[in-house]
Each structure stands twice: as C-alpha cells, then as structure tokens.
Symmetry: D2
Amino acid sequence: MTISANIIGASGYTGGDLLRILVTHPEVEVKAATSERFAGEPVKKIHPNLRSFVDYNFVSVKEIKEADVVFLCVPHGMAAPYVEQYMDSGTKIVDLSADFRLHNPADYPKWYGHEHPKPELLKKFVYGLPELHREQIKKSNYVACPGCLSTTSILSLAPLAKEKLLDPNGIVIDAKIGSSGGGAAFDISTHHPERVGVVRSYKPTGHRHTGEIEQELGELQGAKFGVAFSPHAVELVRGILATCHVRLNKQVKEVDIWKIYRSFYKDSPFVRIVKEKEGHYRYPEPKLLAGTNFFDVGFELDSHVNRLVVMGAIDNLVKGSGGQAVQNMNLMFGLDEKTGMWRPGLHPI
Amino acid sequence: MTISANIIGASGYTGGDLLRILVTHPEVEVKAATSERFAGEPVKKIHPNLRSFVDYNFVSVKEIKEADVVFLCVPHGMAAPYVEQYMDSGTKIVDLSADFRLHNPADYPKWYGHEHPKPELLKKFVYGLPELHREQIKKSNYVACPGCLSTTSILSLAPLAKEKLLDPNGIVIDAKIGSSGGGAAFDISTHHPERVGVVRSYKPTGHRHTGEIEQELGELQGAKFGVAFSPHAVELVRGILATCHVRLNKQVKEVDIWKIYRSFYKDSPFVRIVKEKEGHYRYPEPKLLAGTNFFDVGFELDSHVNRLVVMGAIDNLVKGSGGQAVQNMNLMFGLDEKTGMWRPGLHPI
Amino acid sequence: MTISANIIGASGYTGGDLLRILVTHPEVEVKAATSERFAGEPVKKIHPNLRSFVDYNFVSVKEIKEADVVFLCVPHGMAAPYVEQYMDSGTKIVDLSADFRLHNPADYPKWYGHEHPKPELLKKFVYGLPELHREQIKKSNYVACPGCLSTTSILSLAPLAKEKLLDPNGIVIDAKIGSSGGGAAFDISTHHPERVGVVRSYKPTGHRHTGEIEQELGELQGAKFGVAFSPHAVELVRGILATCHVRLNKQVKEVDIWKIYRSFYKDSPFVRIVKEKEGHYRYPEPKLLAGTNFFDVGFELDSHVNRLVVMGAIDNLVKGSGGQAVQNMNLMFGLDEKTGMWRPGLHPI
Amino acid sequence: MTISANIIGASGYTGGDLLRILVTHPEVEVKAATSERFAGEPVKKIHPNLRSFVDYNFVSVKEIKEADVVFLCVPHGMAAPYVEQYMDSGTKIVDLSADFRLHNPADYPKWYGHEHPKPELLKKFVYGLPELHREQIKKSNYVACPGCLSTTSILSLAPLAKEKLLDPNGIVIDAKIGSSGGGAAFDISTHHPERVGVVRSYKPTGHRHTGEIEQELGELQGAKFGVAFSPHAVELVRGILATCHVRLNKQVKEVDIWKIYRSFYKDSPFVRIVKEKEGHYRYPEPKLLAGTNFFDVGFELDSHVNRLVVMGAIDNLVKGSGGQAVQNMNLMFGLDEKTGMWRPGLHPI
C-alpha cells in the first residue's frame, strides 16, 4: 500500500514534525506540502532537519491535487472551509486544528469565544485519541486530533474515569510545557533572552484545552466534570508533563491502580506505565520522549491527604500533534498503528 | 555597628550564598567560614565568584572564636549540638537547617523519620519568616530559617489564612524548583546530561516541607491543614515557583484579594504583588529574582471552578536560604531588614 | 556629589542594564529614561527587574532637560545628532553606540558600510576602555564605549601588544556570546525553540568589531594588525568567552606571561587573572560574571605548536556595555571607578 | 542477513546510544549487552529510553557467547585484552575506544602518556572513518572508530588536505562540545548547577584527539601537521561544532572550495554541505543533528585576512561514536552504510 498525502499548512512546527515522520513512513508518499507564505521556497529552508530527505518546495494550497488523505495543520478557526471542500472528494481528513474536537457546539463560544461556523459537521468527526476511540477511528474518514495538553491530561486520567473513580470536582491538573507548544510564531515573549529559564504560569485559568478534557473524561465516567487546569511554560523545547492531583470517589490501593492502568492500556503500544522504586527516571520524564509517540504515565498515592498524583508525559509535537495524526492515519488505513514510528527516544538528551 | 559573624558549614551552596551577601554587607565582618572537608583551602576555590572579595581560607569549626552571630549551614539533623554549644555563650544563632523549624516534637518522626534529639530546645526558636514573625524575630536570639519551598508556599497563602479563607483540605501546591535546591552534593541524578531539561516529579507525595507549611498556615488560620504538596525539578539553577490551587471558604472578589494581600504585606519591603493585565511578566517569574531576596506573588480567580490560583516565586538560595538568614540577622540586630540586599535582579537573565 | 543623568534609548537591554546599575549607584540620580516607542509607559513594564526601584515612566527624548551626563544607548548610526546637540550644552557624553569608536573615518565604510556623518567629531572622543585609557578618560567629556566583543578581545591581548609580543598576522580570535548580545529586537532566529541550544557560527568573517580590535592592539604595539575574528552564538543569555589563539614574536615562558599581565593590570580593579592548577573554574568562565563588571583572563602556552591561548570573559551587558559606561562615568567625574559596582557575581548560576 | 552482535561495556553513553541504534536495525540482533557494574540489572533501568525495546538484563562479559561482531565500548586503555581474545575467534571487532586509532606506537606515549600494550596489533586496525577509508573498512575485520572531536575536525578539513591546500602550521581548530562528550561518569564539574550554561575552555592545549587529526590530515596531504586544537564545553548535551581557521597554501575561490568538497564527499550519504545565503541555519548547527549520523560542513573565505573558516558539526554520540560504529559495521558486512540510520533529526529541538 502506498498512501498519498497532502499536508495543508506545512511550514509550522506541527506540519513540520508531521512531515518529518512521513518522509520515512514506509507506506506514505507526500504529494504536497502547502504554505501560502513560503510557496515556491524549498521545504528544507524552513525545516532544515529535512535536508537530504525532502527536495521539493512548498506550494500554494490552490495548486494541490487530490490525495488519499489530507492533514490540516492550519490555525485554529481555519479548518472548516477545507473540511467542507475535501469531504466532497472522498479524501480522508485528519484535522490537527481545534475546530472539530468539541462535540457540543455550545462549547465553542465558551472556550474559543466564537460560534462554530459549521456546527452540523462536528458530529462527523471522531475525537482522535486512539487509546480511547481506536475502533471508531478505524471506521472513520474524519478525525479531529486532540490538543497536546488535552492528550496528556486525558490519557493520564482516562483509566480512572472509566472506573468512575474520579471526584468530578476534585481534579487539579498542573501542566508544564516546552516552548514548541507555542508554535513557530514569535514575539517578545518567545525571544530567547526572555523565554529561556522561565517557569511561567501563562494562563492560570480559562485555558481552552479544559473543554476537551472535561468532554472526554465526562464521557468515560458519565458525569459532568469541572477541571481546574493550569499550564506553565518551562525551559524545554519539546515536552509536556501533566501533574494531576485528583481526589478519588473511594479508597483504593496501589495494586488496584496498577491493575486499572494495565488493563485500560493493554492494547495501546504507545502507552508505558513508568513507576519504579528507585532511579531518577522512576516517573515519566518528557525529555526522554522527544521525537517519539509515547505517552508515559506514573502515579503515587498520597496517604497524608486524600489524593492520587498521576503524572503523564508526551512530546507535544509528536503524541500531542504530528505523531498522533499519523497514528490515526495508520488506523484509518488499516495499518498497524505503530507503523513508521516504532523507535526509541534519545538518552541522554 | 559592626557585627562579627561565623558561618558554620560554608562550603555548600547555602553557606556560599550567605557569604556572598555578607561580604558586601555594610555592617558585618565575617570572622570565620568553616568547612571540615576544605579546611585550609581558599574559600574562592569553592566559591569562585568571591575572587577579589575573600582572601581567607576555610577553617575547621574547632578553630573558630566567638562572634556576635553564628549561622548554621550544616546538613539537616546536625545543628542541635552546635545550638547547645553556642546558646551558652550568648551568641545569636541563625539556623538554616531544618532542625528547629517545627514546633511540635511529634512532627519530626512524622516528616523526618527520626525523633528530635533535643525537643526541649524547639520552643526557644522563632520560625524565621520575617513577614509573619517580624516582631518576635527582633526580640529573639534564636531563629530557625524556613525551608525554601516552605517559604514560597507559606508566603503565597498566608494572607488568605490570616483571613480564615482557606479550605484546609482544599489546598494543592504544585511547586517547581531549580537544581541548586538540591545543594552542592552530586550523583548521577544531578549529572548535567541527565538533569538538564528535566520536568521531573521527584517527590510527588510526602515531601518534608509539607510539615512547615501546615504548621504556619494552621497557626494563622487557627485550623488543622492537610496540604497536598508536590515539588518538581525543572531546568533552572536558582528559583522556585509555587502554584497554589486553593478552594476558599467563601466567595470573594478579585478586589478583595488585592486588598488582603496589600494589607498583609504593607510593611514587607521584599514582597511584591505581581499581577498585570498584559506582558509576559504579568505574573511572578523566578528567574527575574536570581540573586535577590524578593518574594513575588500574583493570583487569578477561576470562575469556571471554585478555585483561586496563587503563584509565588523566590530565589531558593536567597529568600529561601542565605538572604532570609541575613534578613533575620538584620532584624535581630536592630537594622533595617533590607540592609545589604536592596538591589534589583537581572533582566534579561 | 550627586550626578544627574539622562539615558537616551533606555528600553533596550543596554539601556536597561545601565539603569539597573544606576538605580543603586550612590552618586547618581537618573533624571530621565527615554524611549520613543514606550514613552508614557512605566519603565518597570519593560524592565520588570526594576519593580520597587523605578516608579517613573519612559519619556520622549524631546521632553528631557539638561543633566550632568547623558548616556547614548541608541542604535548604531544614530548617535551623531545627539552628540552635536549635547556637546554645545556642556553635558558630558558617554556613547554606547559604535559611532565614535573608530578614530579613522575610513574605517567606517570598511566595517560599517557607510561614510561617517560627522568625521570631524571622531577625534573628540576617547575610546572608553579604562584599562587602556584611564587617564585620558578622566580628562575627557566625550567617551565612546567599546563593543562587547571588542572589549573582551582587546583586554585579552593588550598586555602582549604593549610588549610587542604579538605576531600581527598570527591572531585568531574565536568568540562565544550569549543571546543578550543581539539585544531586545527579535525575529525567527531568536525565537526560543530555534535559538536554544545553538552553537552557531553566525558571522564567521567580516564582523564589525574586528576594526576596533585592530585599532587598539595596533596602537599599543605600533603595528598594523590583521585579526581573524569569528564570533559564535551559544546557549547563554549574558556572557562572552573570547578564545585567542596567538603566535608570539619570540619565545616566552609562562612566568613571563604572568608578569606581563600582572604588571599591565595592576591598577585595574575589575581585571582578574584566572589561571589555576585544578578545579573546574581554573580558567575564566563567563557565567560567573553575570551582572558584574569584571573581566577575567587566563592563558596557556602550547608547547606542541607555537601558540599562546588566551581566554578572556565578561558579561556583555555589564563590562561590555552598561557597566563599562558607568566605570567611564565614574572616572569622568573623579569617582573611584568601582563606585556602585563592587559586588560579587552569583555562584551557582 | 541477521548479524549477531555483542556490546562490551554497554552501560555508558557510547554503549547506550549504540544499543539504541541497533534495537531498530533491520539486520542486527543484539545477543548481549555487558556491564560488570550493572550485571543482572535491566538495561532499561540505565537507558530508560529503551523501555518497550529491550527487556533483557546486562550480563557480565564472562557470560557472553560468540557473535558475528563485537563492539568494544570500554574505557580507553582497556580494549587490548578483548581484542586479543576475539581476534582468535574470527569475530569482527569494532573498537570504540582510543586504543587502536593511532598507527604509530610512539604517538601513544606522546598523547596518552603510556606505552601501547600491544603495539604489534596497531597495524591490523583500519581507522574507522568511512568517508576516508570506506574500501579498506569493507575488507577489514578490525576497525578502530575515531574520537568524536577527531571525526568532526578531520572531516571538516579532509577535502582540503587531499588537495594539498592546507598550510600544515596554519591550522587552528576551536571546537565546542556538549556535556555527553564527557560520558556518564560524574563529578562536581558535571553537577548541573556547575555545568549548565558554561562556555568553558577545559583543555586549551594538549588534547589527545590532536594526534588523530594530525595523523589523518598528514596522510591525506603527505605532510607533517602541527595542529592548534582547543575544545570548549558549552551548554548542550549532544553535539560538536568545530570551527577550523585555516591558512591555505594558495589562493582559491569560493567556487573551487565548493567543487573540492562536493567531489570529495560525492559518495558519502551522511555528509551534507550546509552553506546558504540566508536563514539562521545557513551554516552547520549541531543541535539539528541530535540522534542522527550526519556530518554537516560549511565554510566561508575571509578576504580581510588570509583565512578559510570551515565549520563542521556532528552528534558526538552518533557520528562521533555509536552511529559511526554501526556505519562501519554495515560496511564490514556488505550492507548499505545507511542501514538502520536513515532518518532526519528533530526540528525544533
């Protein structure tokens, strides 16, 4: 099988990392990488890591031809027109924007500050988190990839939600994310002397990804969640650590938590439970995941207060973006979900 | 006035930064800096930043003579014998170890795993957080400086505790700390290729500083607290950010929070409320505090869930250690607490 | 004595660090900090480290009144009009731009690509490197502060040039500089994910500071120099290390080098010779100098090839910019050159 | 073909990165990874990136059985006994230590301070730089992999040496290397608060890799070289940039340099000439190479002085160590040298 693929909006970090994965994917041929800003310029000028792998130029989206699958890496709010256009053509769509993640149209004004332009299309999309919706994704032509912070948070807590163990009002998620999470757009806040070494609470309340987290955990547990979510910018390029401080509905033992996580993720090759008795890597550590599609999760029960601490880690540009998109594509085309991505990360890094 | 000072255990990061402050303090003369390991070697060999400022060598503690004040920078558990010895001599004692921070002897087995060797001495020490205990410190000869994570956490929430606003079981403190917090002792976990770029939950439950936090907030509010505290190692040398996710006992408005913090800290020159409408430094940012004794605090009310997010930041080696020790010493000797430390931090850094 | 000072162009990193030093300088009162872009906005909004130290706003240069000294922190090429204006008024001028550093008008087209707008003014300025021109600076009203890379390079080699030991065509200077050297202006090359961790040869040939280096070494040795100069951007905010690989005109011993450096810098309090037998800080290390006005220098003779390696280090924003400006000002007003800056750096940092 | 491989000394960074490459190499099966210190412990405990890829434990070297190839990742000076032992058995040997790199026994006392224990074996080894000795490596059973700094320096200048263009006494190589270059052994100099942010000249003269550089360039040009080599530790984990400041024997144009490099490296897939007119990645940048086996090289002629600046970059743990070892192994077994390593690096990183 060779799957032909178009990438719409390939000059940013999301599109770039997707391209990095696809150029060595054994079953994919990239037909076009679009950028309105850089049309006509070599892809490797913007993504210098692709020297020797990509010799073509960016093209305008107006010039592309049909492909088996299209990846939408456009800014939030700009995916809907493309979706309408490609739906007609039979092309499978993997949307990496936020535009089709939330099922309830009312959640768009709430979290994004505007009405959804095509609410009737929302129900056509599967929420592209394979560990939760693998079977649906396999059967779907339209997948909306989750946000990076949402991916980490949801996967950290999904097994507990499935068991209805979470107190829906006792969830604090304190996330830490590297600078690539903000994308390739720059301003004074991303200027190196300003950004380096920060431990910055940049959006302590009201972060948009909260909506996705509440949707998915709510569906799993069958309850309405009110999640206290706060992300922080830290000194790192790729990586997220989500520290989830949660109250449980009933007393559980450590061995039960182990069982719940092992059982929930038993068919998920990219999920690893990381919880060891000793060693400095005894819990998940995002830097070890750079360039990989893994989600690592660990936990610790707090006997002092009624709390479980769950720590989840990913590379935001891979499992939180391009890698998850490829994982979804693999499933949509009947491939092993690991295809093209089964490689260890770097250590040291 | 010239205050003569001895520093016991001056070769570590705590002692070193204390020395850095004292060598340009206008009212202090350092008589001896001790180190059993490096006795006879130049201080500047271990603290190369002190070249041109310090020409003497480390000496053994056995060789030192009396001074007006002694700073104990010894490892936790080793301060008691020194305290007994110096109490007799009339020397004022500023202890930077953990040995005299907790008032209740029962808290030592609980948080430190061993009985306190001299429980009868605990009540002789004031908890050396000037913003809470300024008047007591002025009158005391024995001060126990708080831990760095405790300092940040307590100062972040003290104004709310004073107003009895905190739900004692609704406090999650997610702290982030730089590598100097672990001191000068090294192992594989602090080896640069392993430690750099980490976002590491190294002690998700059961951290010792929890005891201090509960003690001080409990005293202020007159209640028993169960604090959920989790520190993380991040890529930074100096600095702590404590993100405190707290539930309040009653509904308050943002303007009330402003008033409460302003009022509580109106006589505390080293406390700054940092909360601006825009700009990338609109909340506290630890890197801006490197080398200074400031505690910066900001907050945000979360209308989505019942939560106040309070963010506090310090330099763990200054306000969390040597600087706070000097601030205490200044008060104990009747000096302005700012003496020797009234300087801005660096930007950029 | 209280010296009144105006800072023209105070919103960049150069002006900001100058301001940081002046706000605690015991003999200076800042009258105005100008910024055309931020006029009317609080200084502390742009320089958040100055909270609690500066409560005034930036003003337009059009609004300022006369002062005893004016610091010009304007972009290169824009100082000449201010110089003409202030010369008439009797104000002393410390220019931090490149506009009056080179004595020979022909050097401007060569290194800066344009004719000098006021070549007749060049000879009125002293090259503001106190370690070379201290007596002239004391008597001068107009001082042109050297570039940061020039400062490091010239001070590294000046003692050898004085002794006529340098082979004028055998000098390779390989410099490494932190990101603050590029100033507060940002673009994609300074975007954190792109800039972090770089070891980047950004101007391997033709760097403008070469002209200053050749001028000053040439004057000292009485010869015409052709310096091979290449700067590199490295992961650091503040700091320069210049590694100077030089051939000497005659065989010398290590002890002679020691004598030459000690003698040349015997009256220069901000210069330290750093060369120890062991320890990881046995040679100059820029990070230890952050926030200080020190220049540290060390060396090693290479018996394998005919080479002396001289390593010099500074904080580019202090000894390479604002600190050197204050050092010059101190001398111009008859103060001890250390005034307001005699403080150790941080360790660890 | 499946090649069975043993790795002797697999717990360090060199062995670990070799293992990382081999676990996804399509033609290799690792039979044993030895470590005397960690025998019996899981490999993934020391190399946490190999979770899900390696389930076996380290074993003692005493327990291993014969394999088609053995990789020696032992400390310098300890490879000779293994070489003698395995030579008898017909196993191919890829030695990553320094023990068989230098052809002239007299170079060992000179650069390593001791006589070579088995000088008669030196001539049996090929210097394992495929870009220089590809055909010999294909036919050899014994290959000595170059040092990481040597690889970068030699590959940077080899095309010029081949054309006899280098002035043998006009070569200054100023190298910058990340912290992984020092290996997994730690001490105070590698303690994170001390090592982070350094720009450190740690061995300005007399570095051991100089001998390899002089040997290989000397052989190519047929001349005796005296190279001025100085490495620096910079803030980075993986990566080397070698800035080579060289005088040429005759005047050449830029276009000639292009031709010389293109021609020399036309059959070397891992070499890329990186020299663009604009963009912040217009010259080689080591961080883009992390995890890859590429060597990137660029250059600039300096018309001001008689100098060519050549910049070469690698990942010291891959092209400078484990990756080069696999490249050699591929050639020794008749495989395409790219096998198992043809993947782009990360951007951003």
